[in-house]
């Protein structure tokens, strides 16, 4: 028996619905159809009256979740693709994110965002929105990279009394498998050392963790041992774990799939530069997608995002310095 990243997301929602009567699910095609990716398969049958097909109205979907949360519900909203959350942006960053600060009323909503690129998906079904939302005070942004984290971090997200943006990577949905969900992983806010190393640190998150691990294996053949830090949540960002890793290796490469201006990788570099400058033996580096919308054709898409090859090349430059 093995379980995929996508099935872990379904299982976590099953558990949440089972254990907490105030949880309900709202999103397009998530009822009897089970969602565009089948992340809610059969949940409407198992929990009648708690899984709803919504109209194509992202703004209203989030707004209604906020209102429900005020009344004590713990709604999970599924965006069909993270990209469409831009239509609900106002309700997310202005309504949900400010509610507690303005009124002392917590806003326990979870917004699931199928994120990131897959071949042939093009500019409007591939985006990574974590940095946009992380910019706004009042939101927690999680980016699970493993099956275990997909499960436990979703349960934790639902339990948190604040709005959580749960970025699930579509590239990991089917091919990332684990034997079992396993025991509870680290709490949200703690990064994980995905691979220990001595010569350089890669800090990354979500699907890029796996590309980074493969690049690290490639450099192992050249005799370098590369540490890979999986952030798990980009906000809060576990600066202590990042600094401790850089203290061990003296070299930092931050890798992300999102657009290059600002963003998570820039935040990592800024923190290390200001709080751990003395730890660095080389200028910190970052690797992101290119500064264009995400292309449709696989030839272009593959070159737009960081790959094992470009990560390995960046590492070699970092190590040569």
């Amino acid at each position: 028996m093995s379980i995929t990243y996508l099935e872990a997301i379904r299982e976590a929602q099953y558990e949440a619905l089972r254990n907490n009567p105030s949880v309900f699910l709202y999103g397009q095609d998530i009822g009897s159809f089970g969602g565009a990716f089948k992340a809610t398969k059969n949940l409407n049958k198992e929990f009648p009256g708690r899984v709803f097909d919504s109209p194509i109205s992202e703004d209203a979907m989030v707004g209604m979740a906020v209102g429900a949360a005020v009344e004590g519900a713990r709604p999970i909203v599924e965006m069909q693709f993270a990209d469409f959350s831009s239509v609900g942006f106002n309700q997310i960053v202005n309504q949900a994110a400010t509610l507690y600060w303005r009124t002392s009323t917590p806003c326990p909503i979870t917004i699931r965002m199928p994120s990131g690129g897959t071949a042939g998906s093009g500019p409007f079904h591939s985006q990574s929105m974590e940095a946009i939302y992380a910019h706004y005070p009042g939101l927690v942004i999680v980016t699970p990279a493993t099956v275990e984290d997909a499960y436990w971090m979703l349960l934790d997200s639902i339990a948190i009394n604040d709005p959580v943006i749960y970025c699930e990577h579509k590239f990991l949905y089917y091919h990332l498998k684990a034997d079992e969900i396993g025991t509870r992983t680290l709490p949200i806010g703690k990064a994980r050392i995905a691979r220990p190393g001595r010569h350089a640190t890669i800090v990354t998150y979500s699907a890029m963790v796996h590309e980074a691990l493969r690049a690290a294996e490639e450099l192992q053949l050249d005799g370098y041992s590369i540490e890979v830090v999986d952030l798990r949540s980009v906000k809060p960002m576990d600066t202590d774990t990042i600094l401790a890793s850089v203290a061990r290796t003296g070299r930092l490469l931050a890798v992300g799939e999102a657009f290059p201006w600002g963003g998570v990788t820039a935040e990592i570099i800024a923190r290390v530069a200001s709080e751990g400058f003395h730890l660095l033996d080389a200028p910190p580096m970052r690797l992101n997608s290119k500064d264009t919308p995400i292309p449709y054709h696989p030839n272009l898409w593959k070159a737009h995002r960081p790959t094992i090859a470009t990560i390995a090349a960046a590492l070699r430059r970092l190590l040569r310095y």
């Binding site: 009822g31 565009a36 042939g120 290059p260 264009t292 449709y296 272009l300």
Partner: protein
Amino acid sequence: MLLSRVLEEKLGSLYRAGGRIVGGVYLGKGQEAFSAALGIQLRKGRDIYGPLIRDQAGRIAFGESLLDAVRTYLGAVTGPMRGRDGNIHRGRPKEGLMAMISHLGSLVSVVAGGLFARRLAGTLHDSVGATSIGDGGTSTGAFHEGLNMAAVEKLPLVISVANNQYAYSTPNCRQYACVDLVDRAKGYGVQGVAVDATDLGQCLEAFDAAVKRARNGEGPQMVVGHLLRLSGHGEHDDASYIPETARKGPSSVDCLPAAERRIIDEGWMNENELKDLFTEARGKVDQAVAKVSKEATPDPFKEKWQALSSEELAEGHHEA
């Protein structure tokens, strides 16, 4: 209509065969009459058209070339989207053919904006703008804001609403609570008509009249067509959620054979002449696909990785 059906059948089979079509294929099967009836009312070069997911027929009627369609689906660099965007996300805005983004409802205000600018510049004359939406797309704020704005500005905008009863798997009853989507027109202060969109004759008459009213300065027009989506949402989807009752219901009529029967009954063409039309369409489609199959796909090393037209403002690489 016919060319559209033949082309889409080809695209569907290329998708199923695997290989050059990456990503989705979205067909307009059953919606050709409704889509084409709007497209042929528009004059390429003078009117603005913003087609959506199921408007292959309208695109052909408007004058988009088969090559533009095939090149975009196959991601050829020679096409209007150069492999940067794919399938139905294509257009030539400078020629009045808007390139849809995925976010539903977003084109309504864009087409309205084109008309608004023409009026400001004194170049509107008798041109109109037209765009399409599905039943699901009418639930977006963008649709509401766009149509309300067009009505406030009294722009010559024709909006066609293809109510095919489903938005992906979601039936109408989970999408809206009015009796007929055409009831909304009144709320916006626009003129609305509803037609049986499986009947080419009704579609032609409705769009002919609506476009004329828009050209005459009577403000936005809404035409709602009732039909059934005869394909999956995309070719990846078997649409097993559509119940037998709907599949056999009055809206499930396929507009294409219905139109053929009418043509034969009226004596406008005989069966052999119709067959010849099909053969001709197949020839055109096969030729286009054969040609594009030999054309280059994008090369990341030749690609200009730049999203700004102002070269002097474009930043260099941010890469490590």
